[in-house]
């Protein structure tokens, strides 16, 4: 049967501002932002959420979300989030951090926050390089991967191995929900959204520190077109950074969304 009633099946989340992002074509930051906004909308958290932007490509994340936001020094977002959450324990506080920010300069702050069981949520974008400064080696850069500061490919003998952040943080008693997801195809994007939802549900229930690591593409700095970049995530990043649930609080495990 044909009907002339239009049904909206896809719209911009209310908490995502209508500003066009500054991200490169094909970058998955936009997807990650959208997923966060959808979850905030669905959970009705717009008025009680305070976001903490970090330093990196997502430094201007606050321009794209329609709720209160602050912007942290490089690596210090978990500390800033702690300050806010401890004063306003009934609000939802999340940080949005890249891999250089979180796993290099900010490793101290993130481990300490997880260890304290700080009741905040962390959206962690892992794209295997420093995007904002033009593609230098990050703690997540894969062995052999060429960057502007590892021009011959990351040599693990002299430059060490990539850090598996989710696995590392899942060892912390204070962590309530630690998973890794990928943004390379629609199925995985849907799984990523569910994980983001569960991370916020963890915080709403006061179950401790929650983090979703999102494998993301950086076509510009990787020197690939967007589709090849997504394929590269699947073929190269996932073998080293497996998609998995590393720690899930039993209450969250039994949750039906």
């Amino acid at each position: 049967m044909v009907t002339d009633t239009e049904i909206t099946v896809y719209h911009r989340p209310a908490t995502l501002t209508d500003l066009g992002t500054h991200y490169c074509p094909g970058c998955t930051h936009g997807i990650a932002h959208r997923l966060v906004a959808e979850v905030i909308d669905e959970m009705g958290l717009r008025e009680t959420t305070i976001g903490v932007a970090s330093v990196g490509c997502s430094v201007f994340a606050y321009n794209y979300f329609d709720f209160d936001f602050v912007q942290a020094p490089h690596g210090r977002a978990p500390a800033m989030a702690t300050g806010i959450k401890r004063v306003l324990s009934d609000r939802i506080v999340f940080t949005y951090q890249g891999d250089g920010d979180l796993a290099s300069i900010g490793m101290g702050e993130i481990v300490a926050a997880a260890g304290r069981g700080e009741n905040i949520t962390v959206i962690f974008i892992n794209n295997a390089n420093y995007g904002m400064t033009g593609g230098q080696m990050a703690p997540t850069t894969l062995p052999g991967m060429k960057t502007t500061s590892s021009p011959n490919g990351r040599d693990v003998e002299s430059q060490g191995y990539p850090i598996r952040t989710a696995e590392l943080l899942a060892t912390q008693e204070g962590a309530g929900y630690i998973v890794r997801r990928s943004l390379h195809d629609p199925k995985n994007i849907r799984l990523a959204k569910k994980a983001i939802r569960l991370a916020f549900e963890t915080q709403v229930r006061g179950l401790g520190f929650s983090l979703v690591e999102l494998l993301s593409s950086c076509p510009t700095n990787w020197g690939m077109d967007p589709v090849d970049a997504l394929r590269w995530i699947e073929q190269n990043m996932i073998p080293y950074f497996p998609i998995n649930d590393f720690k899930v609080h039993p209450v969250i495990a039994s949750l039906r969304i």
Binding site: P73, R76, M80, T82
Partner: protein, 370 residues
């Protein structure tokens, strides 16, 4: 209220509590640790926030986050820890948030020691963090002042959306004196119009220190400077002793200032017309007062527990109109009144004559200590 015998670190902590401190974040470091320990018990007792951070970096950024919510927040540390906080302080200044910080200085540079010193003057007064910003710096010389200035710090921080640093040396932190604590103020129940506490029924608010457009950044810098002009106009504080008829003037802040007071009294007892100016606000600096003294005195002696950091600021006010002398004990040594008296004699006997820069002259006399 009655006087109690109070230790500096504890007095400051309790004064902050009574001034309405809602959240404290800190990291242990001698000689300010009692302050943190005291609040670790006191704050939870009152249902307020206390977090022992993973580092001074963590602490100052927790302060940064909490300050965004519009409540009264504070951290405390000592010299090496303060160095670590410089990044956060620059960001807080760039975001124009009110924050109170206590620096209980020790000897240095580097790890140095835990003895009393005034080594952080330049770092604190002239801004150790990057960028054009102007913290208000209050320098108590006794426990009552430490209490009163801590309370004042919160008021000034909010009035000027500024960082206010209470700067004292380790001996004041450890010392006990009778002092009176203020009455308990209630915690604030309404918040400034800029506070990010969740956009309940209103448009979103953002706190950031990034202005990628230099024009916007420049506007911010000028706005911060404009506010600083107001501070300079309204908030200069100092204490003067025997200045009415003084032919010679000693200038020192904090403990160096009160040590100098003993020496000045001894000089007066000998019949020397010597007075003392003790800056209470190091920023804003009592520049006009020092300029006036430069015009009316035969010589000025600056006494510090460092190698002559405030000396440069004094000389900038004096502009060569009267000889400036210097005596300092860096590295964690408190000068004794007798040492300062010797320096006063040197100044009065030479009628203020000097050959060269006062710091160079002083260093020549200090060679015996190397």
């Amino acid at each position: 209220m009655v006087k109690e015998l109070l230790k500096g670190n504890i007095a400051i902590a309790e004064a902050a509590v009574r001034a309405g401190l809602q959240a404290y974040f800190g990291y242990p470091i001698t000689p300010q640790t009692e302050l943190l320990e005291y609040l670790s018990k006191r704050m939870p007792e009152l249902g307020r926030t206390f977090v022992q951070a993973e580092s001074e970096l963590g602490a100052i950024n927790m302060v940064y986050g909490a300050a965004c919510t519009g409540v009264r927040v504070m951290s405390s540390s000592s010299s090496p820890g303060i160095s670590l906080m410089m990044e956060g302080l620059s960001y807080i200044a760039g975001t124009e948030l009110p924050v109170v910080l206590i620096d209980v200085m020790r000897g240095g540079p580097g790890l140095g020691n835990i003895a009393p010193s005034q080594q952080d003057y330049n770092q604190i007064v002239h801004g150790g963090g990057h960028g054009d910003y102007y913290p208000i710096v209050l320098a108590p010389a006794n426990i009552q002042e430490a209490i009163d200035l801590t309370v004042l710090a919160f008021d000034l921080a909010e009035k000027y959306r500024s960082i206010v640093i209470v700067l004292l040396d380790g001996s004041l932190g450890q010392m006990m004196e009778p002092a009176e604590l203020p009455p308990m103020q209630p915690l604030r129940e309404s918040y400034p119009e800029w506070a990010t506490r969740g956009a309940i029924g209103r448009e979103r608010r953002i706190h950031t220190s990034i202005y990628l457009n230099p024009v916007e950044q420049e506007k911010t810098n000028l706005r911060i400077l404009q506010r600083w002009q107001e501070v300079k106009k309204n908030e200069v504080r100092y204490k003067s002793y025997f200045l009415e008829d003084a032919e010679y003037v000693v200038i020192g802040f904090g403990t160096a200032g009160r040590v100098a007071l003993s020496a000045v009294r001894a000089a007066r007892a000998e019949g020397n017309k010597v007075g003392l100016l003790r800056p209470v606000t190091l920023a804003p600096f009592p520049a006009q007062q020092i300029e006036a003294l430069a015009g009316s005195s035969k010589g000025i002696l600056v006494v510090e527990m460092n190698s002559g950091q405030m000396l440069d600021d004094v000389m900038a006010c004096v502009k060569g109109r009267t000889p400036v002398h210097f005596y300092g004990r860096p590295g964690g040594i408190v000068p004794l009144p007798d040492e300062v008296l010797v320096e006063i004699h040197r100044m009065t006997e030479k009628s203020g004559r000097l050959n060269g820069h006062p710091r160079d002259q002083w260093l020549e006399r200090m060679v015996q200590h190397i």
